[in-house]
């Protein structure tokens, strides 16, 4: 149940890994699509929190190319529908997320990422 809404907020938290530790790269993933309730107000409120290029990149890794490379100035309903789908309806079920900096692998199984660190990685 990792969706891009949380993936976009998630950085590596291993010891000393404080720069270039976002976004985690998807590896060998399988995804499932599930309908979610559309909520325009929530999406508008959430937009400023998103790292746009990271979101577009992650969506492409998952095979979705519906988002424009640049965040549009005009937030219309059509755009919000696409954003809704990308953020909330694509579920990564299996695979892994890899830190671009320290290369720590966070495995995903049954939709749940394992964020546990090894002893030498704990800050």
């Amino acid at each position: 149940m990792v969706r891009l809404i949380t993936h976009n907020l998630l950085a590596c938290h291993a010891k000393g890994c404080t720069s270039n530790n976002f976004p985690l790269q998807f590896q060998d993933v399988s995804i499932e699509l599930r309908d979610a309730d559309f909520n325009a107000d929530f999406l508008r409120g959430f937009l400023p929190r998103l790292e746009w290029p990271a979101l577009v990149g992650a969506a492409r890794q998952l095979g979705d190319t519906s988002l424009p490379a640049e965040q549009p100035d005009m937030i219309d309903d059509e755009f919000l529908q696409k954003l809704h789908h990308v953020l909330l309806e694509i579920h990564v079920e299996e695979g892994a997320m890899v830190c671009p900096n320290c290369k720590h692998v966070y495995p995903i199984s049954n939709g749940i990422p394992n964020m546990l660190l090894a002893e030498h990685e704990i800050g």
């Binding site: 929530f42 409120g45 909330l88 964020m115 704990i122």
Partner: protein, 294 residues
């Protein structure tokens, strides 16, 4: 009285049997639900806006179901795979993570509008266990460090992950003033304001303690919220100040719908058919209208 957090790490204690224990106990589920409503109230979120929240020690998702019901989106963290499995079975809507919060959490600055942590009432022990308890007392089966170090790591990374201003409301069950002292001093060093809220301080049964932490001003008034006073009819049940207020104030008719009432009623019916016992009763609040953000 046995204190499991002194004996075994949480991911062992919350094995399959313990994790599944309350999936069919409607009374416990009602208690968990009420605790969650009270924590939401203490979060003091902007009224009628859906928020993005963090559920710390989300366990089997009883608290998360209430967040779903209230129209919030959330991510949940728990160290016990068996508990998360039950949450999956219950089909909660939040994104779940297997995580030891004592190792710190890795969310970008300002990710969440608020955080909650709800303790779990244990029917057999007749007492509750909270995530903070686990952090204070037990090692885990994973490599780890001392409790103060784990608390520091947790509070520091939690503070960073929260929006400014916002709040974190963590229910706990301190066994001594020293514990309260240790926890609040570490939270303060991590940058939090706020303090302790005690509901029904004079009732042995109904007494509840919340660590109510503020980032920035905490949103709204700077003071730590008042605990609830007076008599309580049933153990574990709390009254809700705001709900009572809302009962008095008629809600305006011009607001826009997010999840409409029919949808929620349909979903609740579905849950009931699946044998879920914690489905909240239908009320005038079901699918109540929320204000648009802009």
């Amino acid at each position: 009285m046995s204190r499991p957090e002194l004996v075994a790490p949480p991911e062992i204690y919350y094995g399959d049997v313990e994790a599944k224990k309350y999936t069919n106990n409607s009374r416990i589920q009602q208690i968990q639900a009420d605790m969650t409503y009270r924590a939401l109230e203490l979060l003091n979120l902007p009224p009628d806006e859906p928020a993005f929240l963090l559920d710390i020690g989300c366990g089997s998702g009883l608290s998360g179901e209430i967040l779903d019901e209230e129209g919030h989106l959330w991510a949940g963290l728990d160290i016990a795979p068996s508990m998360l499995e039950v949450a999956l079975e219950r089909e909660v809507e939040g994104d779940l993570f297997l995580q030891d919060i004592g190792q710190g959490i890795g969310f970008r600055p300002g990710s969440f509008d608020g955080a909650i942590s709800i303790r779990r009432f244990d029917n057999t022990l007749r007492r509750s266990i909270s995530v903070l308890q686990w952090l204070l007392n037990a090692e885990t089966s994973h490599p780890t460090s001392s409790p103060p170090h784990r608390l520091t790591r947790f509070f520091t990374t939690l503070h960073a992950a929260l929006k400014n201003p916002s709040r974190a409301v963590l229910q706990f069950y301190p066994t001594s003033d020293d514990q309260i002292q240790l926890i609040t001093s570490i939270a303060q060093k991590a940058g939090f304001g706020g303090g302790i809220v005690v509901d029904y301080p004079n009732s042995k049964k109904a007494r509840k303690v919340f660590l109510c932490l503020f980032v920035g001003g905490g949103g709204g008034a700077q003071q730590v919220p008042k605990g609830l006073e007076g008599e309580e009819e049933d153990e574990g049940r709390v009254q809700f100040e705001k709900r009572r207020e809302r009962l008095k104030a008629k809600s305006g008719g011009k607001r826009k719908n997010i999840k409409d009432k029919d949808w929620i009623l349909k979903k609740k019916e579905l849950y009931r058919q699946r044998g879920k016992e914690s489905v909240p009763n239908d009320s005038k609040y079901t699918g109540r209208k929320r204000k648009p953000v802009f």
